[in-house]
Amino acid sequence: MSEILGPVRAPRRRKFTRNKAFRRVLPWLVVAAIFLIWQMLVVSLRIEPFVLPSPTAIFAAGWQWQGPILVNAWQTFMTTAIGFFFAIVFGLVMGVAIGSSSLIYDGFYPALVGFNTIPKVAVVPILIIWFGVGSVPAIITAFLLSFFPILVNVATGIATVEPELQDVLRALGASKWQMIRKVGLPRAMPYFFASLKVAITVAFVGSIIAETVGSNSGIGNFMLVASSRFEVPLAFAGLLVTAAMGIAMYAIAGFIEVRMTGWAMRGGMDRQ
């Protein structure tokens, strides 16, 4: 028998790239590498700080101004969070209504799509006329940008319930509301949580746009002021903080998604 067996192989070593811990630090390594290359380019090509500051200069400026940065970042965070909260409420309610009634769908959906195509930057000046400079226009902009993805996703989740499942419930004499509560809403949850990841990032974009156009606080305003004073490293520091906040919010939304709708993402779990 032994001659038909191939040469005995040494037990293969597990590949380093499959290592879980390695996978976990990989994103950080990539970010570190980007900063490193950036730093080397700026130093070796002698790029002026007001064109492209080096990462070390950015971090130094950020550290020096950490107080104002934190205050403004907190302001932006709160603005985004409030706008986002209203977007969730409105998106859920309208999503359920549109997803469960073809009458409401036919009536409202075209108007909503039309509304959504308006560039929200163009709306900010009007909001400032109405509500004055401050955080209200920023909250509204964050809301306006982020409710639509939530609404569309919830509506899709509810509208695409399998007809057979509806028959099972209807044959039991279930009311419309019971069908929404028992089947439509739970079924729409993966769609809803997936949309939160998109919505939170655009809400963030919305509040920063509004702060840049007309506000006297927030990280958007902070960056505007820094760049008007040619404090380019500081403007970049604001940019980095913005990016970090965006990633953090996305990560939180992603975490909640996995926790709440694990049943819909069973790829990773062990099957029976």
């Binding site: 039991l172 004499g173 739970p186 819909a264 029976q272």
Partner: protein
């Protein structure tokens, strides 16, 4: 009760303006209470449409249905349904899936909160009966296809419906699982004696399970023949290979072939 289900001269045309497909034409079927009937026919003959008409999910274009002495004009709440696709809710455990009808059908819905333990025992007993003991807390996607189908049948039975409508519930299973479930189905039926209407493609299945078999024509569907199955209960799988059952299957097959040629 005689004629528990009385479907008389039902025609159904899909589409609102009357130019859709004619799915049923002059279909008549009477089922006594506690009886197990099967409906067989060529594919696309309107068997599933028949289910929807009897349960009140679709109003017929002509004719009507009387169930339990009342004209059906809305979805019946005394029905349990199971389909070829198990249609379990993936976010609920098997036990919670089986208990879903209890949250909707009265008088259970208003009692469920107070007597949860009693209802839960009932659901567990039912799951044990179909061989799903130990899987109550698993999610549907952790079960095999056959197990999901068993759970789906339990869900159709938990609220003790007087009418059980089964639309090819064993159709997507392999033969061994299917035969196992026939036995489980027979046991459930003998224990509770609901009225059952089983729509199926499988003639052996119809012969094994049913008291009476209706044969439908090709679309537009109507009943072209009716056979009573003279086999004692409880039936054993081996009976389906004995001359009587084989002959009956052969006869049903001839009817269906004739119906297909006529179409």
């Amino acid at each position: 009760m005689k004629n528990f289900v009385d479907m008389y001269q039902v025609s159904l045309r899909y589409g609102e303006d009357g130019d859709g497909t004619l799915a049923l034409e002059d279909a008549t079927m009477r089922v006594d209470s506690g009886e197990f009937v099967a409906v067989v026919g060529p594919s696309g003959c309107g068997k599933s449409t028949l289910m929807k008409v009897v349960t009140g999910l679709w109003p017929p274009t002509k004719g009507g249905v009387i169930v339990n002495g009342k004209e059906v004009d809305r979805p019946l709440s005394i029905t349990g349904m199971a389909f070829q696709n198990p249609t379990l809710l993936p976010w609920r455990t098997t036990l919670d899936n089986v208990m879903l009808p209890l949250e909707i059908v009265e008088p259970h819905a208003s009692r469920l909160r107070r007597e949860r333990a009693m209802y839960e025992t009932k659901a567990r007993d039912l799951l044990t009966l179909v061989g799903l003991k130990g899987f109550e807390d698993k999610f549907p996607w952790q079960l095999s296809g056959g197990m999901q189908q068993r759970a789906s049948i339990c869900r159709a039975l938990i609220h003790e419906p007087s009418l059980l409508m089964l639309d090819e519930p064993f159709g997507a299973l392999d033969m061994f699982t299917r035969e196992e479930l026939w036995l489980a189905m027979q046991e459930l039926w003998l224990a509770r004696r609901p009225t059952v209407v089983l729509v199926t493609h499988d003639l052996r299945e119809a012969v094994f399970l049913a008291d009476r078999i209706f044969i439908m024509s090709a679309r537009p569907g109507r009943m072209i023949a009716e056979r009573t199955v003279e086999l004692p209960r409880p039936r054993a799988l081996s009976m389906t290979y004995e001359p009587y059952a084989v002959g009956l299957v052969q006869e049903l097959r001839d009817h269906i072939s004739a119906a297909r040629v006529a179409a």
